[in-house]
């Protein structure tokens, strides 16, 4: 193929792919501004002829979307902060603090990565119930306070911290905790941002466990609430699109703002793993 022709086809394919990929999200936003019933026409309308905020008003006023949004944000923030703290400490120790049983322990943890979380889910429910955490924020937050993947990610990054730096601080008499706080954490900053975003988005989007453990409606996270509403309001497409926008646009914006870190995390987590 001659070069200009090939260039045309490659770029045409890319553009087509982009349109197909972006379309559902763009249409979701467009339909969410249509008045009730406007989307139930053939051919499907592309843009709202009379844009309205009614669906959003209804989502917040009648279906307490604000409450669910708070729940999602609160749970995701708590999980992110606590697990970031625990995973960073453990990841650093696995990389830099030699203690007996370390290699063995680390290998056992890596092996456990193949076990899907759902295997633990049913006994976990019984346990969480024993602890009195069913239908509380704690039921979602507490089991997520540490993750093997997070420890692994931090460890891989922490391996590159120069040993001399830590030794010098030790000779100066700094405690291990002090070294961690004032030398290690600043050095780990890029990977902490990455892990923080991955954790926040993962928790925000999580569905099955919150569905199981949050039985009271006022604690529902956005995905759980939206799944319930979507069964109830099957016909009201415009309202459901507003609900989908409220649920997914916050994480999309967060991703767009910090995508460099997010993609770095995926590459570090899978290629080296």
């Amino acid at each position: 193929m001659r070069k200009p022709v090939a260039t045309f086809w490659v770029n045409a394919a890319l553009l087509t792919g982009a349109i197909v990929t972006a379309f559902p999200l763009v249409w979701m936003i467009s339909v969410s501004f249509m008045p009730t019933g406007a989307a139930g026409h053939y051919p499907p309308p592309m843009l709202p002829s009379e844009p309205t905020l009614d669906n959003y008003r209804q989502m917040f006023a009648k279906h307490s979307a604000g409450r669910y949004m708070f729940n999602s944000a609160f749970v995701a923030t708590c999980v992110t902060l606590i697990s970031l703290c625990f995973n960073t400490m453990a990841g650093y120790a696995f990389a830099k603090l030699r203690f007996r049983g370390r290699e063995w322990l680390f290998r056992a943890m890596l092996g456990a990565l193949v076990i899907p979380g759902q295997v633990a889910m049913i006994p976990l429910f019984a346990l969480v119930k024993e602890l009195g955490l069913v239908s509380s924020y704690g039921g979602v937050i507490v089991p997520a306070m540490a993750s093997i993947f997070g420890i692994f990610l931090v460890r891989q990054y922490a391996l590159s911290i120069p040993e001399d730096l830590l030794e010098a601080a030790r000779i100066d008499g700094a405690s291990e905790w002090r070294i961690f706080r004032s030398i290690v954490v600043p050095l780990l900053k890029p990977i902490l941002i990455t892990l923080g975003i991955l954790t926040f988005l993962g928790t925000w989007n999580d569905f099955m466990w919150p569905l199981i453990v949050l039985s009271s409606q006022k604690l529902y996270t956005l995905p759980v609430a939206l799944a319930g509403l979507s069964r109830e309001y099957v016909q009201d497409n415009e309202l459901m699109m507003a609900g989908a926008v409220i649920t997914t646009v916050p994480v999309l914006v967060l991703f767009l703002a910090l995508q460099r870190y997010y993609i770095a995390g995926i590459l570090a987590g899978s290629v080296k793993g």
Binding site: A18, P24, V31, A120, N237, T248
Partner: protein, 292 residues
């Protein structure tokens, strides 16, 4: 040793959480699958009885379980190759020297990965709508009659596969893109000097260079797809005629609708064993191919 003691202190919080909320529950899952754990046992453990492999026998003689297993396999066998194909195609295009605005396309292709599954399932349910959905409208341009995506048991699972491809292909694309960029340019140069065509370059330079990463992403994608749950929960509730009932959905209903937690544990355990066995099989096949 001060450092060693500090090491233990540093890993202790994370290890405690993992032990209590992951490792012990995993072991307990097997123990629980050998009991008749139900709502009464949940209230008072005195009501718990050991039943041996009874739950497994019940499951393996229950047509609905086989149906769920078959559906899940169908989803995996159809979905994984198509997803990988889409990822590879997108990665090759974005990586092409002829492509412009690469970063923009990369971001757009990746965006569905970060969206909330439940939300996009709601959106796609509308796109698949028989009368007002956009997909049937587009198919109409090509003279194809409307398909009852969510109502016809033959089309419900393919519909979910389409959603899964759209949602996930960007993830593997990113990984494959990195792998493509790590194939040395010299290899292409040398092959070109030898007179290799575009297809031959792809077949004999690109694909072998990607092989280890392709194996990795195929295993990751497969294990992810075996955990199908939110899509049928939102789009079809497992229907029509149980055509989209997945193993995890079956587990969810056994456990949290009928409260047969013992049997639900057995389902979870069977799924895990199955996934593990298939992963090993894939690794072994790959190794044989490398040796051959």
């Amino acid at each position: 040793m001060k450092v060693a003691r500090a090491g233990w202190w540093f890993v202790a919080p994370a290890l405690m959480v993992l032990a209590v909320f992951f490792f012990i529950p995993v072991l307990a899952a097997f123990a629980m699958s050998l009991t008749d754990f139900d709502l009464y046992a949940l209230a008072d453990y005195d009501n718990l009885r050991f039943v041996g492999f009874h739950n497994y026998v019940t499951l393996l003689t229950q047509p609905l379980f086989w149906k769920a297993l078959g559906n899940t396999f169908y989803f995996v066998i159809l979905g994984v190759p198509l997803s990988l194909g889409a990822s590879l195609g997108a990665a090759l295009l974005v990586n092409s020297k002829l492509a412009r605005f690469k970063n923009v396309y990369r971001t757009i292709y990746f965006a569905p990965v970060v969206t909330t599954m439940v939300a996009v399932a709601v959106v796609w349910r509308y796109i698949f709508h028989t009368r007002y959905g956009f997909l049937n409208y587009v198919l109409g341009w090509f003279g194809i009659d409307p398909i009852d995506w969510m109502g016809d048991p033959h089309w419900s699972m393919p519909a979910i596969v389409i959603l899964a491809i759209w949602k996930n292909f960007g993830y593997n694309m990113i990984i494959l893109l990195a792998a493509l960029q790590s194939i040395p340019e010299d290899l292409y140069e040398a092959a070109r000097i030898d007179g290799a065509s575009g297809w031959q370059l792809f077949r004999h330079v690109t694909l072998p260079g990607l092989a280890p990463v392709l194996l990795l992403v195929s295993i990751l994608t497969m294990t992810g797809y075996f955990q199908l749950f939110a899509e049928p929960y939102v789009m079809t509730e497992g229907g029509p005629l149980q055509s989209t009932l997945s193993v995890l959905y079956f587990m969810y209903e056994e456990g949290f609708k009928w409260w047969s937690l013992g049997r639900a544990s057995a389902v979870a355990f069977l799924l895990f064993v199955l996934m593990f066995a298939i992963t090993l099989l894939q690794l072994r096949l790959a190794r044989r191919q490398v040796n051959a």
